[in-house]
Structure formats: C-alpha cells, structure tokens
C-alpha cells in the first residue's frame, strides 16, 4: 500500500473534539490510493468524517459542515462580529509574524509571510479601532510549532486565508453599520489576494484542477459566524478562553 501523500494537498481536514487531541491532517482526497489504484478516501468519505467528528473542512473551496445562509440569519450583532474578527486578525498577525521570523521559510514563502504579517497587523489595528473599548480580551495563542514547519505553515495559511474570505463574506451582510461594512470590504479583498497568492505558492503556476487554482470558483460563498468560530476553535490555536 502506498503511503499517504502529504503535499500538495487541496483539502485540509481540521478536526478535533473535546476529548481527542487536535490534529491538522493534510489529506489529499484525490491522491489517497490503495495499491489497486482505488481511492481509499473519497471526497464523500472525507465530508462524512468531518461531519461526524464535528470538525470543519477548510480550504480547497469545500464548505464547512452545514449550509450557510449567512445573509438571512441575522445572527451576530456588529459587536459580536467585530470581536470575532479582532481575535482572528490578532491571531493571524501573530501567526504570520512568527512564521516570518522562524527561519523555516525562504523565497516566495518568506516574502508571503512577511507581507501578510504586515497586512494582518493592519487588519487587527483597523478592527481594534472599530471595536474600541468594547474589545474582548485576547486569549493566549498556541501555534503548535506550525510556523516553524514550512509545509505545515503553507497549508495552514491556505486554510486560514480561504477561511477569512468565507467568514468576511458571511459577516458583511449582517453588519448594520455601513462604515463597518466598508471597512470589512477593504479587508476581505486583501484576504482574497492573500488566498490567491498562497495557492500559487502551494500548487504552482499552472494547476489543472479548479480547486487548486488561485480562484477556485466563480463565487466565494460566505459562512456563518458560528461556522467561522467553529473553524477557529478546531485549529486548536486558542487553547483557553472563548472563541
């Protein structure tokens, strides 16, 4: 039986429950084959597994569990959304900064980490200014050595950036303030640029499969705030405190 190929991986399955250790599994559903050339892990299996473990599939354009009807839900006040974004942007600013100085990256990956660290710091500061004294405290982060491992960093970055687009697109229509919508609009396109950029780094210049391309779909669907929180929780990067 051939070993599981770790990279390149169009899908990152992130799963974990309260009792299981959190793992970031790099699974290429299309490439996992047994010696007879049959796929051991079909896409349907992967989705079912994610659903059963309560985990979330991020990246590769696959939606998280459940169907987003983000624009209609009306859940999440502006403040709730802002505090989630503050946590997310603060986390990412720290994550990319760590990766940039870890020494694990060079060339395009290093240039990416450095620029994105700057951009996420701007996002964090923008959201911080918007939330003002209503900011929730930021709990400590544990990046589990991922910024120090080039391959794991790249795949995680891909999942984070695609996830940011989805979270922002879901949150946008829920915001009651036009000013906040404008700010979110200025942020989300940068996340989308970063997502396209990391996809080029991970999958190369001429990937044939749509789900490996910088723009995998004609539309980027939004996810709900609950789904965005669940995805962040399931990374295990916020071991204490509330997401």
């Amino acid at each position: 039986m051939r070993p599981v190929r770790v990279l390149p991986a169009p899908n990152v399955a992130v799963k974990g429950t309260m009792s299981e250790p959190i793992t970031l599994e790099l699974v290429d559903a299309d490439a996992v084959m047994d010696s007879n050339g049959r796929s051991e892990l079909s896409r349907a299996d992967l989705l079912r597994r994610a659903a059963v473990t309560g985990g979330a599939l991020i990246g590769g354009g696959v939606l998280l569990t459940g169907v987003p009807k983000a624009f209609a839900q009306g859940s999440g006040t502006d403040l709730e959304i802002l505090n989630f974004l503050l946590l997310n942007e603060t986390l990412e600013a720290a994550f990319y900064a760590e990766a940039a100085k870890s020494g694990a990256l060079k060339g395009k990956a290093l240039a990416f980490a450095r620029q994105v660290a700057k951009n996420e710091a701007v996002h964090r500061d923008t959201v911080k200014a918007a939330v003002g004294s209503n900011a929730r405290a930021i709990p400590p982060f544990d990046f589990k050595g991922i910024p120090n491992d080039r391959d794991k960093f790249l795949v995680t970055a891909l999942a984070l950036e695609d996830g940011d687009v989805a979270a922002n697109n879901g949150a946008g229509p829920l915001l009651s303030s036009k000013a906040l919508l404008a700010a979110a609009g200025s942020i989300v396109s940068v996340e989308a640029r970063q997502a396209a950029w990391i996809r080029r780094i991970v999958f190369g210049n001429t990937p044939k499969q749509a789900n490996r391309q910088p723009a995998p779909r004609p539309f980027d669907p939004g996810i709900t705030l609950a789904q965005a929180k669940a995805a962040l929780r399931s990374t295990g990067f916020v071991p204490q405190g509330e997401v």
């Binding site: 404008a182 396109s189 640029r193 950029w197 779909r217 980027d220 939004g222």
Partner: protein
C-alpha cells in the same frame, strides 16, 4: 426554498457543471443551475431565484448597481475572450485568462438573470491592441481587475438588499483573487497593502472612459 446539500457542493465538478448548465440552457439561469451547479454565491443567489417577489421589489438603486456591475463584467469577459482568441497567451497567462474569463462569463449570466428585463445589452468593445501581446494583456488585466474590485467595494455599502449584498460580496472577493493572480504572474506583489480602497461609480466610469474600450 431547498437548502443546498453538501453533495451539491462539489468543488471539482461544480464549476464545469455550472458553466455547462448555464451555457446549454440558452435561457440564462435556471433554478437547477442555481441550486445544483457551480454557483456558490450559493445560498444568496438561490434565495434570489426562489423569491421572484423579491426581484419585483428591487429598488431603483439596486437596479442601477446591478447594471453597472454587468457593464464591468461584460467588459472583462470580452477582454479575456479576445485575448484567448488572439492566441498570444500561453502557460500561466493562458490559464489565468481561461479561468478568469469563465468566471466573468458566469458573473455576466448571473447578473443578467437577476436583472431580467432590466438587463442592459452588451456594449461593443475595442480593446485597442491590448489583447495583442502578453505584456499588454498583463498590464491591462491588472488594471481591469483592480478597478473591478474597487468598483464592487465602492458599491457594496450602497446596496439596499441584503441578498444582493451577499451576492456582490461573493463576486468581489473572486475579482480580488484574479487581481492577485495576475499580479503574481507579472512578478509583482499580489497584496502590497493592508486595506484596498473603494472607488465611486464616477471614478470607475472615468477610468473606463479613459481606456476608450467601450464604443458608442
């Protein structure tokens, strides 16, 4: 309205299915095309399709915004189509033009479908040789995509309907992906600043007018 199921959300096949569904129907958007195919604007777009009453209640402002967006999508789709036809592109530039072009075509059909009788016709374009070389194509694509993102961004806070806003946002971020993609191909920084700026409709139209791509 039926919820989209996970099985319907099939990344690998969806873009092809969706595009085929749209092209083959010849009638523009069908319900099946919206719910089953590659239209991940997904819940937002499906809801719009399922509620024709909502379309009837569309504000004048939203109609103008949709027509504005349609103009830009027509422009981009035609630009990529001509660039591919002229045969000067290869490798990663060709792939970009094919994929971005397919997306823009789907955006055109989606916006036409939403607008219905309010859809404007495609203008005639003259791309003035910008599709004739790899270098000119690259420079022009960067300008068009950057302007498109800024246009959607400028209009978003002005959209009255939450469903249309959701749909607009699902397109806006894809245009941003296109922008970063072609910038990276050009060897430029794909995300040089933390915040992208909006442009007003007036500013966008001024940029487009300067190109003289739109005839008449």
């Amino acid at each position: 309205m039926n919820e989209l199921t996970l099985e319907q959300v099939d990344v690998d096949g969806a873009l092809r299915e969706g595009a085929a569904d749209l092209d083959e129907s010849g009638r523009g958007l069908t319900r099946a095309g919206l719910l089953g195919g590659g239209l991940f604007g997904g819940a937002a777009l499906a809801a719009i399709a399922a509620e024709p009453a909502a379309a009837a209640k569309r504000t004048k402002g939203d109609t103008r915004i949709l027509q504005f967006a349609l103009t830009l999508e027509y422009l981009e789709a035609a630009f990529y189509a001509e660039a591919i036809r002229r045969g000067e592109l290869k490798g990663e530039r060709l792939l970009f033009a094919e994929v971005a072009g397919a997306h823009e075509r789907i955006h055109v059909r989606t916006l036409k479908g939403i607008l219905g009788g309010d859809a404007i016709k495609q203008p005639s374009f003259d791309f003035r040789g910008t599709t004739g070389s790899s270098a000119k194509f690259t420079k022009t694509a960067i300008a068009l995509e950057t302007t498109g993102v800024a246009a959607y961004k400028g209009q978003a806070p002005r959209i009255d309907s939450d469903a249309l806003l959701a749909a607009a946002l699902t397109i806006h971020s894809v245009e941003a992906r296109h922008t970063a993609w072609i910038l990276d191909i050009a060897g430029r920084n794909p995300a040089p600043v933390g915040l992208d700026k909006p442009l007003t409709k007036k500013q966008v139209l001024a940029v487009v007018a300067k190109t003289r791509f739109i005839q008449g």
